[in-house]
Symmetry: C2
Subunit: 436 residues, 2 copies
């Protein structure tokens, strides 16, 4: 029986999950792959902690360099995270001619282009299915299953923490703070939740997906990012009255010679499947010119779901090794020479639907003044609602717009904000609707 | 630039879709694959019909044998359908050393084991992603993405015709006949709808998925099959009152040394994503020991979505050819020597929840008699409802049970059916609930 030797770097939550699958499902994997995937090393700075699995003698080590230098190791699995030592280890693994699996979206978003190039030059495989959407095979779907499609758009819920918090606020009336605390208690949120709740983690993932879908370099810096920390209970409730739920969405759209790439809280209609994706689950709706709309749904994080995706990469590479091939599919889904620098559309240039909430004085002429400014800025109003009670002499007014240009909306809001009949900063939430 | 030559057999709806993608997205596919996928032949008995695409000179032919015998052809794409000539052509293609792509679920369900063996012996690839779930990559997901998982269960809506009809009855109050007629008018149902509405098509697909998931031979004959033609409006409405929607489900569950394999109308709770899969869409929820629940959703049929999946198979094989490898992944996902004959559990032995509707006389003692018989058969009642008006002196009584054994339920119903206080045959619908 053939054997593929695996060196795991980082044996934290997901790393332990990977070890668990390789050990506990060893026979099952062998029946599918036709070879033993042998976990030769699991390296971690802490080798004393009880991980609830029985490692064979000598597998646990605190010497990552030994793993990287072992000529028997075929595949290095980087489960350290972060953009520091993880990057160095991956580059060293590549230099040593080893294939690499990683789930490190922050690293990929920042240095993916470099890592992919390095791997291609050394003719080793570099796989990262678990970096986006946990167990959902979104990367394989874009690289393989939709290979005949021009991708039109991708809309995803890609951060379980945010989705958990928004679900709790929406369904149980919790405050943002209480929901965040509960997410932390359940292990769905980090002690410092900034990366998640401010949308950065979602943006990392969108940068990766856009590259795969549209044949562009990974580009994080041009993604428009807005998190969920300023979403209020009032807006979630009002959204519900209009038939919408608020989700933190990653939106990547093909706009011909440009792409839209944005992450922000978004209202989506109840009958959109994405609005039924709750708790800490993830989903992504991909639209292809042939396939039409397709959705993947599953656990986007967590020990075992993420490990499941990591193991799928290990299996892919093992199958390549057993077939005597590498580089069967380019790491970024497109042939290197076909990858272009496609510009990201500035958010001011997008057209979409908007929900705008003002606090304004409740007297004649106010509405005509506000709608006048919107009209001058070419924003057509779909409906106006006076919702809720007077607060400090002001009433909440909600307007839903037809499709409008973001720059115009912002300009109008700035003009309206300085009116003395209007209270504090207007609230602006984008709407993603079917006919958009 | 390298070239892979493709011979298409059958240029009907899906075949034309495949040709369309290969021609119209040729450059895009080249940018991904690094080779030209050249449609050398499209064979059909009718070469005069306008298919809305410009074939190069000589591509359209009515001579399938010429295509099969052409030594330049690398991949044969069988888009004929049925179990007759399609099978002969596939076997000849294999004998001639050509790789084969097919979307023919009826053929796979009936002769898949033979075809797979023949392909393995000749060391050619045999791919059939489009046979189940149209554009959804359910076969790739089982063969590759979940390779590290023990699959626990699969629950799918795999027939667009049935789902369309049930959605129309549920949401628009249509009769079964009217919904079927509309499905036929929209091209979602065949002139003879038996294969779809009686559940056979769904069973073909389940036979394929069970083999891939559980490492067993394709086994169609032991699947329990019940179609949707006897579902009444009344039961759909009552289901709604209990928080359920009725869907035709394919259910494949891992029961250790056996599998459950059944196709029948099933009640599922509103908050199950599958209950929100409407119109002609398909979805399948797969549960793996590591991944947890994962759902794929998309168009399960139709020209372009099915063609999208066919092209993904062509691309997979092209990538194998360019890498100089075949048989990289066994066609049935497991190494041939690992495939077992896992017995299918007789439906009488399953345990599930039941909805039972009787028509009974509205007088004292009736309920105690019925519930007495259920009790004697070890069926515990969760709730009893008298619903709706008296019809012919009888009132409808609905009972929801706790988990019960199918054989016991059937025995009890047979005993109840002969009581003179009870009208015509009781209605029995299985319920698939989260805690099952």
């Amino acid at each position: 029986m053939k054997e593929i030797s695996i060196g795991l770097l980082g044996c934290g939550t997901v790393g332990t999950g990977v070890a668990k699958i390789l050990i506990e499902n060893k026979e099952l994997i062998r029946s599918r792959v036709g070879a033993v995937l042998k976990l030769k090393y699991a390296a971690d700075i802490d080798i004393k902690r009880d991980r609830g699995i029985r490692f064979d003698e000598g597998v646990l080590t605190d010497d990552a360099e030994k793993v990287l230098d072992d000529p028997e190791i075929d595949i290095i699995v980087e489960m350290i995270g972060g953009v520091g030592i993880a990057k160095d280890f991956i580059l060293k693994a590549i230099r040593n001619g080893k294939h690499v699996v990683s789930a490190n979206k922050a690293l990929l978003a920042a240095y993916g282009n470099t890592l992919v190039k390095a791997a291609a030059e050394k003719r080793v495989d570099f796989a990262y299915e678990a970096s986006v959407g946990g167990c959902m095979p979104i990367i394989k779907t874009l690289r393989e299953s939709l290979a005949g499609n021009r991708i039109i758009s991708m809309i995803g819920i890609l951060n379980g923490t945010c989705n958990y918090i928004l679900s709790k606020i929406t369904d149980e009336g919790m405050s943002f703070e209480a929901a965040l605390t509960q997410a932390q208690a359940c292990g769905f949120a980090e002690a410092d939740p900034t990366l998640d709740v401010e949308g950065f983690d979602t943006a990392h993932k969108l940068a990766i997906l856009n590259a795969l879908a549209y044949g562009m370099e990974i580009n994080l810096k041009d993604i428009y990012i807005e998190g969920i920390s300023e979403i209020t209970h009032m807006d979630i409730e009002l959204a519900g009255q209009f038939g919408y739920r608020i989700k933190l969405l990653a939106i990547g759209k093909n706009r011909g010679d440009r792409v839209e790439a944005r992450v922000h809280p978004t209202m989506i209609p109840f009958d959109n499947l994405l609005s039924n994706v709750n708790a800490n689950l993830n989903a992504v709706m991909v639209s292809g010119d042939a396939a039409g709309d397709m959705l993947l749904y599953g656990y986007g994080a967590g020990m075992m779901p993420t490990a499941s995706a990591v193991v799928s990469d290990i299996v892919d590479i093992a199958r390549n090794l057993l077939s005597g091939t590498t580089g069967r599919i380019p790491a970024l889904a497109w042939q290197p020479e076909a990858i272009r620098k496609i510009p990201v559309m500035p958010v001011d240039e997008i057209f979409t639907y908007y929900y705008i909430r003002f606090s304004a004085e409740d007297r004649p002429g106010v509405l005509s003044k506000i709608s006048g400014i919107l009209g001058e800025n070419e924003i057509s109003i779909k409906s106006v609602h006076q919702k809720g009670r007077k607060i400090g002499g002001l009433v909440p007014i909600v307007m839903l717009t037809h499709r409008a240009k973001e720059a115009n909306v912002k300009k109008a809001l700035a003009e309206i904000a300085v009116l003395d009949i209007v209270g504090n900063k207007p609230v602006l939430i984008r709407i993603e609707d079917e006919d958009e």
